[in-house]
Point group: C2
Chain length 229, copies 2
DNA sequence: ACCTGAACACCGTTCAAGT
DNA sequence: ACCTGAACACCGTTCAAGT
C-alpha cells in the first residue's frame, strides 16, 4: 500500500493539525502518529518537528481546534437556563465532529482562548442567576462534562473503526446481552436495543441536556427555598 | 535504577492485573506496558503472554476489576431516586480508587458480570418508577456517565503524576487564569479557585449526584404532566 | 505447563548535518 | 528557514525453542 501522499498540500502547522484531525476521525486517535503524519505528507517524520514542538503539543493544538469550532449562539436576553442549554448544545455539536478526540477536550478548556471565553460566559450567566461561587464553578464544570459525556456515550463513539466493523461489534454486544439468562436479566433483555441503539440523535441530545439543565434549575430552587426558610 | 522485582510474588493472571492497576495508579495508564510489567515481575515480557492473551485483554480485565469493586448497598424498599443516587455514588467510590483507569469503564459495563448486574438493577428501578423504555435506557446510561464524569472532573485526575508535579501544574493553571485581563474575564478571575480546587470532596460528589438525580426526577414529573394533559 | 531468545514492525525524540 | 540520516530508547506481538 503506497502512502497516500497529497502533493498539493504544503507542510505547515495548520496543515499538520488538519491532517491529524482527519486521521483521528478516520482511524482513531491512536492512528495519529508523528511517523504516520510524515508518511501522509510524503516527508520524513523529523520534518514535522519543525512545525510542531512535540506530539503533546500537537494534541494540545488539536484540542484547541475543538474549542475554536464551537459555534455559540447565545441570546443574552434569554433566561439563564435557556442560555445554559445553548452552551451545552454548542459544545455537543463541536465535539461530535471529532468524537475520537474527546479526551483532548478536558485539558484545553482553560488553555484555549475560545475555551476561556465560553467559560467566562457560562460563569457570568450562572453567577447572575443566583448560584453561589462554589455552585457556579461546579455547574459550569458539569456543563462541559455533560457535553463530553453525551458525545462519549453515543453508541460506538470510542473506537475509530470503520462502519462495518462498528455495526459488527454492536451486533456482538447485542447478542451478548440477549444471551443472558431471562429470569436473572429481564430488564437488560427488554431494553437491550435502547441501550445500544438510538435512531433519534437530536432527541437523545435534547433529553440529555434537559436532564442536566433541569438538575441545575432544581438545585437553584432548593437553594432559594433553604435560604428563605 | 534496578527493576523493583518482588521475589515473593508469583506470576499469575490475578497478580498481573493487580500489578497493572497499581502501576496505573502510581504512574498513569500509559505506564502499564507488557514490557514494564515483565520487568516488575523480574521476567521476560513474553512470559506475560502465557497469563494474558494480549494487552487489550489485560485492559479489559482491569476494567472488569473496577466493576467488581463496586460496593452496592441499595435498599430496595427506598424510593427510586434514593436508590439511583446510591448506585451513582457506589460507582463514584469504585472509580475513585483508580482514576487513571476511567477510560476502561465504558467498554466493560456490558461485558463484566458485575456491570451487567448493576445495569439490570438500575433498569428495573427506573422502569418501575414510570420511565419509558427509551428514557430508562438513557437515564441508566447517564447514571454511569455521571459517575465517570464526576471522577474525571476532579481536579488533577487525568495524569498519573506525582503529588508535587500535580500541585505544581495546578499552580501554573491558576496563574494562567489570574493573568487574564480583568475587564474581559472578571468571572473567571473571581472563581478561579473554585474551578481548580475543592476541599470538600464529599460535598462535590453529593452536589454532582444531586444535579443528576434532580434532573431525572424533573424529567419524570414533566412526562407525567404531559401524559395527563 | 510455563518461560526464553530472537526477530519484526512499530513508536517519540535528539542531534548533527545538509540545502 | 526547512528538511534529512542515523541513532537511541522505547512499544506489542509471533514463533520456535527450551525446561
Amino acid at each position: 500500500v503506497a502512502a497516500r501522499r497529497v502533493l498539493s498540500e504544503t507542510l505547515n502547522r495548520d496543515a499538520v493539525i488538519d491532517r491529524a484531525l482527519a486521521l483521528a476521525d478516520a482511524e482513531g486517535l491512536d492512528a495519529v502518529t508523528i511517523r504516520r503524519l510524515g508518511q501522509e505528507f510524503g516527508v520524513t517524520p523529523m520534518a514535522l518537528y519543525w512545525h510542531v514542538k512535540s506530539k503533546d503539543e500537537l494534541l494540545d493544538a488539536m484540542g484547541d481546534r475543538l474549542f475554536a469550532s464551537v459555534q455559540l449562539d447565545v441570546v443574552s436576553g434569554q433566561p439563564w437556563d435557556e442560555q445554559l442549554r445553548s452552551i451545552v448544545l454548542a459544545f455537543v455539536e463541536a465535539f461530535r465532529r471529532h468524537p475520537t478526540c474527546l479526551e483532548l477536550v478536558y485539558r484545553r478548556i482553560f488553555a484555549s482562548v475560545e475555551g476561556q471565553q465560553i467559560t467566562e460566559l457560562a460563569l457570568g450567566l450562572l453567577r447572575n442567576a443566583g448560584f453561589t461561587r462554589r455552585e457556579t464553578a461546579d455547574v459550569a464544570t458539569h456543563a462541559l462534562q455533560t457535553a463530553i459525556m453525551l458525545v462519549g456515550a453515543e453508541p460506538g463513539a470510542e473506537p475509530g473503526v470503520s462502519a462495518e466493523e462498528q455495526s459488527e461489534q454492536l451486533a456482538a454486544k447485542r447478542a451478548g446481552l440477549l444471551a443472558l439468562p431471562a429470569e436473572q436479566f429481564p430488564y437488560i433483555r427488554e431494553m437491550a436495543d435502547e441501550m445500544l441503539h438510538c435512531d433519534d440523535m437530536p432527541g437523545y441530545y435534547a433529553f440529555g441536556v434537559d436532564v442536566f439543565v433541569a438538575g441545575a434549575r432544581a438545585t437553584l430552587n432548593r437553594q432559594r427555598a433553604d435560604s428563605s426558610a
